[in-house]
Amino acid sequence: MSQPQMSERPKPFVFPEYCKGCGRCISVCAKNCISFGTEINPQTGLIPIVLDLEACNGCGLCITACPEPYGLQPQLPEVDYELIDPATLFGPRQSAATPAETTPDELIDLPATAPLVIKGNYAAAIGALLAGCRHVYGYPITPSTEGAEFMAKYLPQLDGVFLQAVSEVATVNIMYGCGGAGLPCLTFTSSPGFSLMLEGISYMIGSEVPGVFLDIMRGGPGLGNIAPEQSDIKLACRGLGHGNTHAIVLAPSTPQEMLDLTMLAFQLTFKYRNPVVILGDGYLGQMTGRVTLPNKMIRPGLPDWAVWGDAGHRRNLICSIYLSEPELEEHNKRLIAKYAAMSASEQRADLFHCADADTLIVACTTPAQMAKGAVQQLRQKGVKVGLFRPVTLWPFPIQHLLPLLKRVERIVVVEASDGQLEDELRLALSNAGIFKPPLIENIRHYGGVLPGQTEIVNRILATQEVAS
């Protein structure tokens, strides 16, 4: 029986390049084996320590005291460190794991069911469930609370997670974590809450983390009120936090679309690894209507890039830091190319009586429904008017608008905001090289007052009279 001798304990060793000369190892050595050096290391500009291991008993205290991962190391007997290039010394680690591959989503057939009769907010919630979302985080804010309440009630029945966060700031950052882990997640919020989430959305865009934000817009500025306003179009389209950011912005106008576009949002957020914003308004969220379920639901897979917490995904990093200017410029260029790809492929619009229209109403969310009613009423009077309803507010569906411009003499933008939709329209026209667009007029309301069908009809009839 031979006990290992105390003297067999490994003695310390350090590459001068990796020693910062802090001296924390010196005071801990009872044998006074370590002392401050005197020579500046040419590679580091620091003065490494000097070891004199004659009296060393291998207690290891100096190694534990060294803050550098590759600073003081136990010297293994069989290795002659002096002959090794330090850069190669610590050799590649044997990571048994092969990098994970993306597990694709699975489509599950649904039987035909009778249409549901539900509120817009519930329809969106069901859309999220059908899209495979089982992680919903949020902070209650009127008029979006039904969504959170629905999820709080039903997600546990699907073994999902609903967590009420301490704030909207916390909410968006929990989503950063869950989305970074590669799972679909969602929040319901309303304008003041959405403002608070913008910083986090910038991080998600910078780190390419998916997540769906359902903003049931309300009257502002400030606390404003809880009535419907289209107050956040500018935030969603132009103001997603700091940096060069964009996200697809969907604008449903019926409970059915609340479901359909929420499902689409999940598809798009993973397709582009970029958040997606759905803008509803209080009216739409509260509106009950007929909602038909699709014939498929989704069981989400897991993307290869996820920071999941297993061997296959260990190498992954979710991060928006690029320290060097050229690298950050490259990163921005990649993001901008992604925005361009979204812009090219994801423009969506709903056209109602547009083919022969010489007057075009442009409107989205609930005001678009009022406008639709107005168009029908005007058509009965023989007025050639159509409704151009952007379903994506960003990218603005200019591709669908351009062909109509040959006929259109005037455009009336109907909105519940101070020209936030009109600004998107004008910017899109100008970016498309249309510098002499048709006459653009508007009907605007604020503070929760929505443009009414009769008001739109009367305005267009008045305009017609002036025109003729």
Binding site: Y18, L129, A170, C178, Q286, G289, L293, V307
Partner: protein, 474 residues
């Protein structure tokens, strides 16, 4: 003593070029390096490297992900604990570490750390307290000692700048955490304790005990403007006075955090949860009620808060959709909904409801006088008004050709023993007065709505019948 939890080469540190491939970005003698090392060793010893997700903060340790060969994510300033919640709830098998400095955790991220600690979810927080902002250049931290000079307390911290915040004590005072300890790094004994504490914090998670928090008093020689060894001494002599070392809370013995859910994707379950039915629906209407309006009938139901206008509106919408029409219902919006009047706009359309608002309805159901006074004059010519004659004694002037039916909704309901059913009386009256849908359509919708309260069905059927009878009798 060596661990494989550090990358063999720090590729993310300047592409791992030259010395940076094996050297940290920390100043000589910085406490972060030691905390990293003990964390790496604990991960190694517990055999959890593949499961770990480390959340890097903003501060000097922002680049934790340069070094640790684990799943890495980098959080916004102060938000690491909630990012950790996202990871932990996404994958309950992951071991999630929130590594934070004092500005990150004790200043900008206070709400996040306190709420996460109280949630008690099993994540491990390593909190590096070095009494100063490192990354931004030595400004005052929430943990800066009184009298201590920093870039933003040039003459020393005074009470006007607040008192140093004792995080370990604060977190230990919450019910959520299972393990809270404050440790230091200034001598061999403290380092052993620090290492043990960090390992224990991880064990709390491996064993699903709950939230753990280790505050590490660390050295920032650079901003203390002392050499590293003098900084160790300063921590030992000055910091520990305000931030006493030791165990603050340990209820790990019998602790066990409830199992986090793992989502299910059964289609049957989902359909059940959302209330989708595969049953055939029964239809009774043979055609759209075009006698009321072509293609789209607009209704308004208005009353006081408890009159049940919204429920009646919902029943109409359900009935219409059962019949294969489109329909919408919008409840009154704005301050009115908090008391006073409650009104509902309903549309029934042959194909598609366009504008869901009903400022000029074809049909009006009024439960009280103010509602009739307000909306009666807006009814479309040729429209129908049904009102509660128990409460409304004088009818305002209505547009030409509008028919009004007074039915004592409240009286009938009271006679039936439940004033609550006055809205169903109203529906019966509406049906009889307008023939919007056949009687069976309404009754079918009412029975469906009362599926869970079958006992209420006969009463409601009776209420409906009495409402209809009252119109016929008129």
């Amino acid at each position: 003593m060596t661990t494989t939890v550090f990358y063999d080469r720090f590729e993310r540190h300047a592409q791992g070029q030259g010395i940076k491939g094996h050297s940290t970005h920390y100043c000589p003698g910085c406490g972060h390096g030691l905390a990293h090392k003990y964390l790496a060793e604990a991960i190694d010893e517990l055999g959890i490297q593949d499961r770990v997700v480390a959340v890097s903060p903003v501060g000097c340790s922002v680049f934790l992900y340069y070094y640790m060969d684990v799943g890495n994510t980098q959080a916004a300033h102060g938000r690491a604990p909630v990012v950790a919640i996202g990871h932990k709830t996404a994958n309950p098998d992951s071991i999630v570490i929130s590594y934070q400095g004092d500005g990150d955790l004790a200043s900008i991220g206070l709400a996040e750390i306190v709420s996460t600690a109280q949630l008690g979810i099993p994540i491990s927080v390593i909190f590096i307290n070095n009494a100063v902002y490192g990354m931004t250049g030595g400004q005052m931290a929430p943990t800066t000692l009184m009298g201590m000079k920093t870039a933003t307390s040039p003459a020393g911290r005074t009470p006007l700048m607040g008192q140093p915040l004792r995080m370990a004590e604060m977190i230990a005072g919450l019910q959520g955490p299972v393990y809270v300890e404050r440790v230091a790094l200034y001598d061999a004994k403290q380092r052993t304790r620090a290492k043990r504490a960090i390992r224990k914090a991880l064990e709390c998670q491996v064993e699903n005990k709950g939230f753990s928090f280790v505050e590490v008093l660390a050295e920032c020689p650079t901003h203390l403007r002392l050499d590293p060894v003098a900084t160790e001494k300063w921590v030992a002599e000055q910091m520990t006075q305000i931030f006493p070392l030791g165990l603050m809370k340990d209820v790990t013995k019998d602790a066990s955090f409830p199992a986090l859910p793992r989502p299910s994707f059964s289609e049957e379950r989902l359909l059940e949860v959302v209330g989708a039915s595969m049953e055939e629906v029964s239809r009774f209407a043979t055609s759209f009620p075009s006698h009321l309006a072509k293609g789209d009938v607009a209704l308004k139901l208005a009353g006081a808060g408890g009159d049940g206008a919204q429920t009646a509106a919902m029943l109409i919408t359900n009935a219409a959709i059962n019949e294969g029409f489109d329909s919408t219902h919008i409840p009154s919006y704005g301050p009115e909904s908090r008391g006073g009047t409650s009104y509902a706009d309903v549309h029934v359309a042959e194909r598609e409801v366009l504008s869901p608002a009903a400022p000029n309805p074809h049909l009006l159901v009024a439960f009280n006088a103010p509602s009739l006074a307000k909306f009666g004059p807006a009814v479309q010519p040729g429209g129908v008004v049904v009102y509660d004659s128990s409460t409304i004694h004088s009818v305002p002037e209505l547009p030409a050709g509008v028919t009004a039916h007074g039915v004592p909704f409240t009286q009938i309901a009271a006679d039936l023993g439940r004033t609550l059913v006055k809205n169903v009386v109203a529906l019966g009256a509406l049906q009889e007065a307008t023939q919007l849908f056949p009687k069976e359509t309404f009754l079918y919708a009412i029975r469906n709505a009362l599926k869970e309260k079958c006992a209420m069905i006969p009463l409601n059927e009776e209420a409906f019948a009495w409402g209809a009878r009252a119109v016929r009798g008129n």
